[in-house]
Symmetry: C2
């Protein structure tokens, strides 16, 4: 995925959250520093979401082990809920607890559209309920 | 203050916070979107800091009324403590509750080194205690 496409989907989610009265922050240089940072952190009345955000042309997505460990570490220390937000091409957004990722033999993680439909929730549900 | 200098002092504070086990996020495009965003948001075990960060050559600083209203609004909605972090040239960092800003006749706010010394706290105290 290009950097540009990543930024575009982050911006889309940023505005979706703001429209629902969350106050979102896009992290500057997310993924380019050794310090764990999610793509977006959003808060509303003390509920805090730490979000890794992806937009996909294909039906499956691999995540580096470090990316997921960092998301969980950041969330635990900050006091936030860790979430994956994946926009599959033509199938819209899915919000998924990272615990539902499958693990490859090499130690990395993946999510596909089948698993996302099974374990993920849509935006409406996402903003309503806690992890 | 130049954009570059702003970024440099944000980076310095980012690393100071991370060294003290806070998880900081620098906001992308802070100040350039109409959506309120602080320069840095940092969390540790559920304590969340929303920080406007300035570096000054002079001994006083004016803030636009909107900048302060936005910081307070963001903090209230997100569930964060609003803070001003000001690095005065050769005098180091001061962390100040925005309620201590003085107001000009035109409705804007200002902070100077005298007021910062009176009402501000240093980094050590800042990371220890709640607002």
């Amino acid at each position: 995925m290009s950097k540009k496409k990543g930024t575009r989907c982050e911006r889309e989610l940023f505005h979706m959250l703001y429209d629902k009265n969350f106050f979102p922050v896009r992290a500057a240089g997310s993924g380019s520093t050794p310090i764990p940072n999610p793509d977006i952190i959003a808060g509303k009345d003390g509920r805090v979401l730490a979000i890794e955000c992806k937009s996909l042309k294909r039906d499956n997505k691999f995540f580096m082990e470090k990316e997921i460990i960092d998301l969980k570490l950041f969330s635990k220390k900050f006091g936030a809920e860790p979430w994956l937000a994946i926009k599959f091409n033509n199938k819209g957004w899915f919000f998924i607890n990272p615990k539902y990722l499958s693990k490859t033999k090499s130690g990395n993680f993946y999510m596909n559209i089948k698993l996302a439909k099974e374990k993920g929730i849509d935006f409406k549900e996402f903003i309503k309920r806690k992890l």
